[in-house]
């Protein structure tokens, strides 16, 4: 085992994580959540066109590989005259992906709030949108924290696919050093460990977040 190489390569790999993987995941997740909420609301909307459109988007996102989505945006769109640089391409693909999966999570969470909560909102004179915003969504948010956290953790790992469209991130750094040094096993294990450490940290944050939100939920 080449410990010196392991140590020397840790710098670039961690830099790839900090400048590539982590911001890519955070930005895509934040945008994806906004998208997810919008798609979820469209999906439960009584306006047929909206809910049909939402169902279509969800179906496409969930029914096609993320790698293919990424390639369509980065390598496919230029043939239509639309060239998007690697980073934005990755952000677009990942946010749409989070939007699709997150929409189903948020929709399920909204539906899990008992009908009595809608009715209680109505009987204190609230409109449908006010009830949604002040009564239903806060309760749905609590329910969706665990599955959304899982989505985020998956996203962190999926960002490694961005290396295939030339985004400089954790895995691409590892690949470069591996190709140069021919120490494939060492570098890929090292990359795996760094991903693992990031995900361990995220799981810990998730646990604490759930505990904090738990105080506000009905214990029936």
């Amino acid at each position: 085992m080449d410990w010196q190489l392991a140590w020397d390569s840790l710098g670039p790999i961690v830099r790839g994580a900090v400048l590539g993987t982590v911001p890519l995941a955070l930005i895509s997740f934040a945008l994806g959540l906004v998208l997810a909420l919008g798609i979820a609301l469209a999906r439960i909307s009584k306006v047929r066109v909206l809910s049909a459109a939402a169902r279509f988007v969800i179906s496409v996102v969930r029914g096609t590989p993320l790698l293919v989505q990424l390639f369509v945006i980065f390598y496919g769109l230029p043939s239509l005259g639309l060239t998007i640089p690697p980073w934005p391409s990755a952000v677009i693909a990942f946010s749409i992906n989070v939007g699709g999966y997150g929409a189903e999570i948020i929709r399920a969470a909204i539906l899990s709030v008992p009908a009595g909560q809608w009715e209680a909102g109505y009987t204190v004179s609230m409109s449908r949108s006010l009830t949604l915003r002040r009564i239903i969504l806060p309760q749905a948010a609590r329910v969706s924290v665990p599955p959304l956290s899982n989505t985020f953790i998956s996203l962190v790992k999926d960002t490694s696919l961005a290396s295939l469209i030339l985004v400089t991130e954790l895995f691409r750094e590892a690949q470069k050093i591996a190709a140069f040094s021919q120490e494939f096993m060492l570098l890929y294990i090292e990359a795996a460990v760094v991903y693992w450490v990031i995900c361990l940290g995220l799981s810990a944050v998730q646990g604490r977040l759930e505990k904090r939100l738990d105080r506000y939920v009905a214990h029936t």
Binding site: A120, T123, V124, Y216
Partner: protein, 272 residues
Amino acid sequence: MSLTPDRPSVPGSTGGTGVPLLRATGLRKAFGELEVLKGVDLQVRRGKVLVLIGPSGSGKTTVLRSLNALTPPDSGVIELDGDRVDFGADVAPRARAAERARLRDASGMVFQHYNLFPHKTVLENVIEGPVVVQRRPRDAAIADAEALLARVGLESKRDVYPFQLSGGQQQRVGIVRALALKPKLLLFDEPTSALDPEIVGDVLSIMSELAHEDWTMVVVTHELSFAREVADEVAFLDGGVVVERGAPADLFTAPREPRTREFLNRLLRPLD
């Protein structure tokens, strides 16, 4: 703040001749094939208490939820304090929504399972409607809420969450939440059915206080002693119609209809 509704008392409201505050005529409702209401007529005069009784599945809840349009009837007319909504009329969806909102705004509802907002404290539950919808000043709403909570013995619970309360306490908050909106009409759907027997009395006594303070109430309940003591009128619902109605003294002691008699017998002697 007293629990008394915030409006001048109407002359004649204690007599038998006042104009009804609420009049429902010909309420019909079907769920798919199942005809639940087949033409229900009801009236309640201002400051009076109407108790609805009837077997399980007879449509009591459906009637109550028609009155605030939570479950809009398929047809029938509801007149509430001069506001007339004809559910059979062909009305644009937007106008219908506005009509339903008006009925909802005019009444407060207390649910069997309380339906408090679990993510809000007791105080927040109570002031939600007054502050967010009615746009009353927050301080005034809080002062009113505190006074109401004190009236039902829950002043010390203002900052706790619903899950920290017993069922009886939650239901008292449910009542206060309805009162805080100062509705014209209070609707109760089996408010004590989910409670342990020993706390049923607490909630019923708050309700009879409200009755004595001139609130207009429609109450669905199986508590016949409450009906006997508090109701001005009792209506027996069965098979989607009001089979019989009258003053509790008459209806309970000398029911005219065989179906009423049978129902009361079963309720009073459940072990036979």
